[in-house]
């Protein structure tokens, strides 16, 4: 029951417990003061309610001792919290020496991530358990903010400068990755997943894929992973053409001419999207050269081939 209605996000990094600790302490402090004042006000309201319309209570101008008392207590508490929170802030923003370096580029509206070995991802980040990871980040266009609630980390991603954040994942699993700084139309879809893996699994993931998987299934996975589906929507209303039933057809090209959609055309469109642009679409697709292995491209081609137009499309 309680797990269905959590009040905390998962604690999946070495910061989580520390941040939750200061959060919990601040909650206690707030509840104490809120309760103190509320109870006093309610007691006064009941005890000192007006008994007759012309009642005039004893007048009190003030009390210097009380003023000093309730000025100094909040002051001391506030300064104490400041010290605690600043120590924590320095801890969260100061990476250790042995971090694994990764790179992040934010753009409207996707996260592009790159591992030191050259492996690239979109909207997904695979990281090993128990290994400090440092991200160096920038933006291609507007402000974004890289936010993993389960890790309690966030940092703005700013065009024209590098920002960085680090974390050490402490729990295997998949966690939300959000863009926290408003960045335009699809801001709320600039989200992804962070996958924390055992170090051995991470190594396997870096070097290969999943065995014994039909090619179009692997291709479909890649299609989602690289967020192709956000533009190449099934209903044709996306920013790229729908790929359903496209294989084998001839398409008109921007600037005249036409091309037959075959394996070579699909490969070229993935690696060099602007080369032969379908008429009516803008050259906005990023290149996936170096991001998807040749096997991956083949799997994607297999997936596109498998997308058959449904029988009823002619019924409007």
């Amino acid at each position: 029951m309680w797990t269905d209605f959590p009040l905390f996000p998962e604690q999946a990094s070495s910061f989580a417990l520390k941040v939750d600790g200061i959060y919990f302490a601040t909650v206690l402090l707030s509840v104490f003061f809120a309760a103190l004042v509320s109870v006093l006000v309610i007691i006064f309201a009941i005890k000192y309610r007006r008994k007759s319309p012309d009642e005039v209570p004893r007048q009190i101008a003030g009390h210097i001792g009380l003023e000093i008392f309730w000025t100094s207590i909040p002051l001391v508490l506030a300064l104490g919290m400041f010290v605690w929170s600043t120590v924590l802030y320095f801890h969260i923003t100061t990476p250790p020496a042995n971090t694994l370096e990764m790179y992040v580029v934010g753009k409207q509206w996707m996260w592009k991530l790159q591992h030191p070995e050259g492996k690239r991802e979109i909207n997904e980040l695979h990281v090993p358990l128990g290994q400090p990871v440092r991200l160096t980040m920038t933006s291609e266009d507007v402000l974004h903010s890289f936010y993993i609630p389960a890790f309690r980390v966030k940092k703005d991603v700013v065009p024209g400068r590098y920002t960085s954040l680090w974390f050490e994942a402490t729990k295997v699993g998949s966690y939300h990755l959000f863009c926290a700084e408003y960045c335009g139309t699809e801001h709320s879809r600039m989200i992804g997943k962070v996958h924390v893996m055992e170090p051995q699994d991470y190594q396997n993931w870096l070097t290969g894929g999943v065995a014994n998987e039909p090619m179009e299934v692997a291709g479909e996975r890649l299609f989602e992973q690289y967020a192709c589906h956000t533009c190449h929507k099934v209903d044709g209303k996306g920013r790229g053409p729908s790929l359903v039933g496209l294989y084998g057809k001839s398409v008109g090209l921007e600037g005249g001419g036409s091309a037959v959609v075959n394996e070579a055309y699909i490969r070229e469109s993935i690696l060099n999207p602007a080369a032969k642009l379908v008429a009516g679409y803008k050259p906005i697709m990023p290149t996936f050269k170096g991001q998807i292995s040749e096997e991956g491209v083949m799997q994607l081609i297999a997936y596109v081939k498998s997308l058959k137009a449904p029988e009823l499309t002619s019924v409007e």
Partner: protein, 545 residues
């Protein structure tokens, strides 16, 4: 509106035949008036309209967030809704809310003056506000704006395809109307106090408005300049903020928050002034620790200028700058605590009456406590990394600006309505509205604290499924809240036509507006300049203990 004959009510009070409301009829007598009270009424009508419009946008936002998918509106539409909700509510409702209405009405009367120092400038401020409002409305009708009320660059200056220029210009103009109001208040409070009205006899409402005016005067020009720089970059490609043009996007945030954080205190200090008046009156007792409450307003205004960087802990600003901003933000808790404790102590051994203003006082205290205390989570750098740009922030600032300022505005309207309109409203409905607003507000915004800590970012059109339950609760609360806001709108207007004539001093309060001015006041407020011989809130002699 008011009856022409002398209206003698049960208390034996004879309202004067001519007052500021019936001294001249026709649209022209209102639109060209130099009477601060009529200008206050003009402002009341205008901000009520903007409040309704901003509230409508809020309702649509809450409808969208009822389900996780983002299926009610297109994401562009949603982005425009929250932007216009923010722009309308902040620039056209919250900033002018108490100062331009209740403040405009009361500042001259409370200091014992005939009018503000510059009556024509006062009227000009309303016209500037209305032109700004009209431009904003044109911008909205022409398709709206989608940058967020914060206009962060380079999205606003380069990437957005919406009506950024006209709406930003509307905000620019609205800023000038508040500069003019602040200027008028400062000069009036300095130079037009009645004989005997020393600084330490001023009602605390005046101290709060004095502090607010300082912020309006010193802060607002900076937002004006900032918006102009952004507009120049957008219109002509001057490179101030977009790195592709050689600018710095974080610079915009510094400039923007240099005004917009102090502006938060424009949106809370006046309500604190209202509270001091009301707490004293419902307890029939002097405000405990007058000087401390007065100077805490000034302290908040000054400290408020030095905390803007707490909006930027994760923006890549210098860590050491962040530390300074953090510690000063923590210090703001101290004057806020001083006020709260002194209000509480004012009720101690008082004579507390259970009327509508009292209900609003209780509600305000509850909401302001939560709003103020949750500020501690956000001045806290280590914690703010997680909370920044989540629903925790949204909840926090609504507790301050809506739970605080709007509660204070409504409470103040109920408190001074007999003075402003000369009419009484139904007490039962007044109390009901206070209860509805309090409950509806908490149900709307408390779940958002939890959502924020769970990690739901703000300004999200669609969201992961696990956040739905709390969003449904929030939307449910918003409907109760809407009812709570609608109710006073109905019975206050009703009271103008059908309400009983108000006595001069229905609450038995102290102060020139209650004891000397009529209900409603005459055009020049007083027959002759009042002479003040006692401290504020002198309900009886002070007894030593």
């Amino acid at each position: 509106m008011a009856t022409a004959e002398q209206d003698v009510n049960a208390s034996g009070y004879a309202a004067p035949e001519t007052n500021y409301i019936n001294n001249g009829y026709g649209l022209k007598s209102w639109l060209l008036t130099k009477d601060h009270k009529r200008i206050a009424v003009l402002y009341m009508i205008s901000i009520s309209i903007f409040f309704a419009v901003g509230g409508l946008f809020a309702g649509l936002i809450r409808l969208e967030l009822l389900t996780p998918q983002g299926d009610f509106s297109h994401s562009d539409t949603y982005n425009k809704l929250f932007t216009m909700h923010g722009v309308v509510m902040i620039f056209f409702f919250l900033v002018p809310s108490i100062p331009a209405t209740i403040g405009n009405f009361l500042v001259p009367i409370m200091v014992g003056a005939k009018d503000l120092a510059f009556p024509r400038i006062n009227l000009l401020s309303w016209y500037v506000y209305i032109i700004g409002g009209a431009l904003g409305t044109i911008g909205i009708l022409a398709g709206g704006v989608d940058t967020g009320w914060t206009f962060y660059t380079p999205y606003s200056s380069t990437y957005s395809n919406s009506n950024v220029l006209i709406v930003a210009f509307a905000g620019f103009l609205a800023g000038f109307s508040s500069i003019l109001t602040g200027l008028n208040f400062i000069v009036t409070i300095h130079t037009m106090r009645a004989p005997g009205m020393t600084w330490f006899r001023l009602p605390l409402f005046i101290w709060a408005h004095y502090a607010t005016s300082i912020i309006m005067l010193l802060g607002t020009p900076v937002i004006a300049i900032t918006l102009v720089l952004m507009m120049l970059e957008r219109a002509f490609g001057f490179g101030f903020f977009d790195p592709r043009l050689g600018g710095d996007p974080v610079l915009f945030q510094h400039l923007f928050w240099f005004y917009s954080h102090p502006a938060v205190y424009i949106m809370i200090l006046p309500s604190m002034g209202v509270m001091s008046e009301m707490v004293s009156c419902i307890s029939r007792k002097r405000v405990f620790g007058y000087e401390f409450v007065a100077f805490s307003s000034v302290a908040i205004a000054i400290l408020g200028f030095l905390v803007w960087g707490h909006h930027m802990f994760v923006s890549s600003q210098s860590t050491y700058a962040g530390m300074v901003f953090s510690v000063i933000t923590f210090l703001v808790a101290v004057p806020s605590a001083i006020k709260t404790f002194n209000w509480t102590a004012t009720m101690y051994k008082g004579s507390i009456v259970y009327n509508t203003p009292m209900y609003y006082v209780m509600g305000y205290l509850g909401l302001f406590l939560v709003g103020g205390l949750t500020g501690l989570f956000l001045s806290n750098m280590g914690l703010d990394i997680h909370l920044h740009d989540t629903y925790f922030i949204v909840a926090h600032f609504h507790y301050i600006m809506v739970g605080g300022q709007v509660m204070g505005y409504l409470g103040g309207m109920h408190f001074w309505w007999p003075k402003i309109s000369g009419k009484m409203y139904p007490e039962v409905l007044g109390k009901a509205s206070a209860v509805l607003v309090f409950l509806g507000f908490n149900l709307t915004f408390f779940p958002q604290f939890v959502l924020g800590y769970m990690g739901m970012p703000r300004r999200y059109h669609a969201y992961p499924d696990e956040f739905q339950i709390l969003n449904v609760a929030s939307t449910g609360g918003a409907s109760v809240l809407a009812l709570g806001y609608l109710l006073p709108g109905i019975y206050l207007v009703w009271s103008i036509f059908k309400g009983a004539q108000a006595p001069q001093n229905p609450w038995g309060a102290k102060g020139l507006e209650w004891e000397v001015a009529d209900s409603p006041p005459t055009t020049f407020n007083f027959e002759s300049t009042p002479v003040v011989t006692e401290e504020a809130y002198n309900y009886g002699p002070i007894e030593e203990h």
